[in-house]
């Protein structure tokens, strides 16, 4: 017995020790978890109390977004996230060529740089890089107007403008205030210069961080992948040295108040023309209000537009149809309204400063005068149910997100398909799968109609070429060319618009329907020109009206 007792004591003791050790571990882990909950709670309470801490002073010269990022790290991170590979339709690698996927695009853009290189769009981060490397820019001379949207040009325009107006254009003067008149002047001075020239000016323009020349996103190789310095080290004194930024904070925000604003002269002129015109714009109440007012001051979006309208206007500074080459300054064709045919009419009425008729390009195969549609997202949205319901671009593409207790607009601007919950379900209380189904239904129908329109367009061009080969001259084809231009304008309108019909599905279908109709009209007209005269149909028998159809007798 004593032997047994002696044996059991260490067992009992080690059992007791194990229980104590386990209890200790449970208490330690429990304490750690409670401490974690406590710290999270504290953090959330702090976030609720202080939305941001301003550590850097910003001014009207702060083009470089990095100092802004010190004050607003979450917004800055979102902006940087547009470089991610999750962007809908794009990725961190150069995206697929659209020309290979939809070969009819080559026929549509024959004779125009878009037939050389045309790819799927990527996130905002890539806008300057992708423009620098696209063969449209590296192989063909392009206008500096292209940088109106792809670069952060506000300060450059203002500097050039102040110089042209003979006013103080020092860094201090530039930093002090935003002078729209100088921006306009600089814009006019710069638009007709070449792309390379303006890019070099942009890199040398002050950006608020003179000692730092490393942009957040790596720049495109100088001159693209070809040209004078392709693959070579660039000489120190070469004007291309410096820092250029894609669209950054200052392009949409007032650095003093953080209020959103528009800075692009192209938009300011365009929306003013719209306000001064007659076209209805029921989704933009501030325009109706201005029209009913005394009109002493011209319509100014920064002064007259509501906050909700501004949440679309900042996007509409670039996501629109425009003329962007060097025969005249960048122009948004809105004086007759925002509908497809309003814009078409505006171009038909437009002449270049030298008096010649407006043209984007002469079609390379048929020789018809054609207009190139850019990407009328704002205009198509204007025709849709979301615009009519007061939903802005930012509501879907920059949905509110919660970071801790703080609520902010996502600056990772992307397809709402990536954020159905925060983008759509605020208003649409259906399940995510149901919403995705609806979107895909709209977009696949649009795609199917688009392909049909592309096919009709291709057959139209073939028919016109056959008519030319049969001897029809430009005079004989005059009316056919007008039909061709109308067909192409409509097809391009929906094909280039970046919502696959979603921004206004019924309108998109209407436009594609018209495109198909014009293509077929042109095809038939061209066919008539080369085919022999049709025999008369007057003698063909016509069945009399029978009433109820009688069964055929055996």
């Amino acid at each position: 017995m004593p032997k047994n007792a002696m044996q059991s004591t260490p067992d009992k003791q080690s059992g007791k020790a194990t229980v104590l050790l386990l209890a200790f571990l449970v208490a330690a882990i429990g304490t750690a978890l409670v401490a974690w909950v406590l710290i999270t709670m504290f953090t959330h309470k702090q976030e609720a109390r202080v939305p941001y801490v301003q550590v850097v002073e910003l001014n009207e010269i702060s083009v470089d977004p990095e100092p802004w990022g010190l004050n607003w790290p979450h917004h800055f991170d979102g902006w940087k996230a547009t470089a991610g590979d999750k962007f809908y339709g794009g990725s961190s690698a150069m995206p697929q060529s659209k020309l290979e996927k939809q070969p009819w695009l080559k026929r549509l853009y024959a004779g125009y740089a878009f037939s050389i290189d045309y790819r799927q769009a990527r996130g905002h981060a890539y806008m300057l890089y992708d423009q620098g490397v696209t063969e449209r820019v590296t192989k063909k001379p392009q206008a500096g107007a292209c940088l109106h949207c792809h670069g952060s040009t506000t300060v450059l325009y203002r500097k050039v403008g102040l110089e042209a107006l003979g006013e103080d254009s020092s860094d201090e003067a530039l930093a002090a205030d935003f002078n729209m008149e100088a921006v306009q002047k600089g814009f006019e001075e710069v638009s007709t210069k070449t792309y390379e020239e303006v890019l070099a000016m942009l890199k040398q323009a002050p950006d608020g961080t003179p000692d730092e020349n490393e942009p957040v996103f790596p720049p495109a190789p100088v001159g693209g992948f070809e040209g004078e310095f392709a693959g070579q080290p660039v000489p120190e004194d070469h004007p291309m040295v410096g820092e250029a930024h894609p669209v950054t904070c200052i392009d949409c925000h007032n650095p003093k108040t953080m209020a959103i604003r528009v800075t692009r002269p192209g938009f300011v002129n365009g929306i003013r023309a719209l306000a001064e015109g007659e076209a209805p714009a029921p989704h933009l109440p501030s325009i109706a209000k201005w029209r009913n007012g005394d009109r002493n001051e011209p319509y100014d979006p920064n002064a007259h537009a509501s906050r909700q309208e501004m949440r679309s206007f900042v996007c509409a500074q670039c996501h629109v149809e425009y003329y962007c080459a060097n025969k005249k300054t960048l122009t948004f064709p809105w004086k007759n309204g925002l509908r497809m045919e309003d814009e078409e009419r505006t171009w038909e009425e437009t002449t270049f400063p030298d008096g010649s008729d407006f043209v984007d390009y002469i079609h390379g195969e048929t020789g018809a005068v054609t207009y190139k549609v850019q990407h009328p997202e704002f205009e198509l949205w204007s025709q849709g149910i979301h615009a009519r319901s007061g939903v802005s671009c930012a509501d879907c593409h920059m949905p509110y997100q919660r970071v801790g207790a703080a609520k902010l607009s996502s600056h990772n601007v992307q397809s709402p398909l990536k954020t159905i919950n925060s983008s759509c379900q605020n208003c649409h209380h259906q399940s995510e799968t149901e919403l995705v189904d609806r979107i895909e239904t709209i977009q696949s129908r649009n795609q199917a109609l688009l392909e049909r329109a592309g096919e009709a367009m291709t057959e139209m061009i073939d028919a016109i070429l056959e008519a030319k080969a049969a001897g029809a001259d430009d005079e004989a084809l005059k009316d056919v060319f007008v039909l061709q231009r109308k067909a192409m304008w409509r097809l391009d309108y929906i094909s280039s618009e970046n919502s696959r019909g979603f921004h206004a599905d019924q309108e998109a279908a209407r436009i594609l329907g018209e495109s198909i109709d014009y293509s077929r009209q042109a095809q038939v007209a061209a066919l008539r020109l080369r085919a022999p005269e049709a025999p008369s149909t007057a003698d063909l028998p016509i069945e009399e009206v029978q009433g109820v159809t009688t069964p055929q007798e055996e």
């Binding site: 209890a23 200790f24 429990g30 409670v34 401490a35 406590l38 709670m41 605020n426 259906q430 399940s431």
Partner: protein, 155 residues
């Protein structure tokens, strides 16, 4: 050793009580809607409830906890309280928030708790049949922000 373990549990207990107090956890035992808005996610729901048609007659608990018994009520509170804290602490939740099937049943039962006499003729004939949930059409009676399942199954 036992002293150390006792001390450790003392720390856990103390920190636990402090955290409960700091997070105003005690408020969740009562009926005050303000305490639901302790969690920032509920702020919009709270704000719109203040303006809603039910403001005068129902608080959060009237629609979101069962009326059968106190046990069921506090079980639901415990269940939601735990998962809400977990979701908000980890940041892993839908925003705008979406109601779960289980809580949707509670809401449906609450609608009927008050309105059954009015809607008797619309209820399914057999137990277990499905029906549209009341809030599918009356989405904003309680508060405007609600993403609820369309159908209520198993009445």
């Amino acid at each position: 050793m036992p002293v150390l373990v006792a001390a450790t549990f003392g720390v856990l207990g103390g920190l636990g009580v402090f955290t409960f107090g700091y997070g105003e956890g005690y408020a969740y035992l009562g009926n005050d809607p303000q305490s639901c808005a302790n969690c920032h996610v509920m702020q919009e729901s709270y704000d719109s409830w203040v303006k809603s048609s039910h403001h005068a007659v129902a608080v959060c608990n009237d629609c979101h906890t069962p009326h059968d018994s106190y046990a069921a009520k506090y079980l639901t509170k415990a269940d939601n309280g735990f998962f809400h804290s977990l979701a908000f602490t980890t940041g892993n939740f839908k925003d705008p928030i979406q109601i779960k099937q289980r809580n949707s049943k509670v809401v449906q039962a609450s609608c009927l708790h008050c309105h059954q006499d009015l809607v008797n003729h619309m209820l399914p004939l057999h137990e277990g049949d499905d029906m549209l949930s009341c809030v599918h059409c009356h989405a904003s009676v309680g508060h405007s922000q609600s993403i609820a399942p369309r159908r209520y199954e198993g009445y």
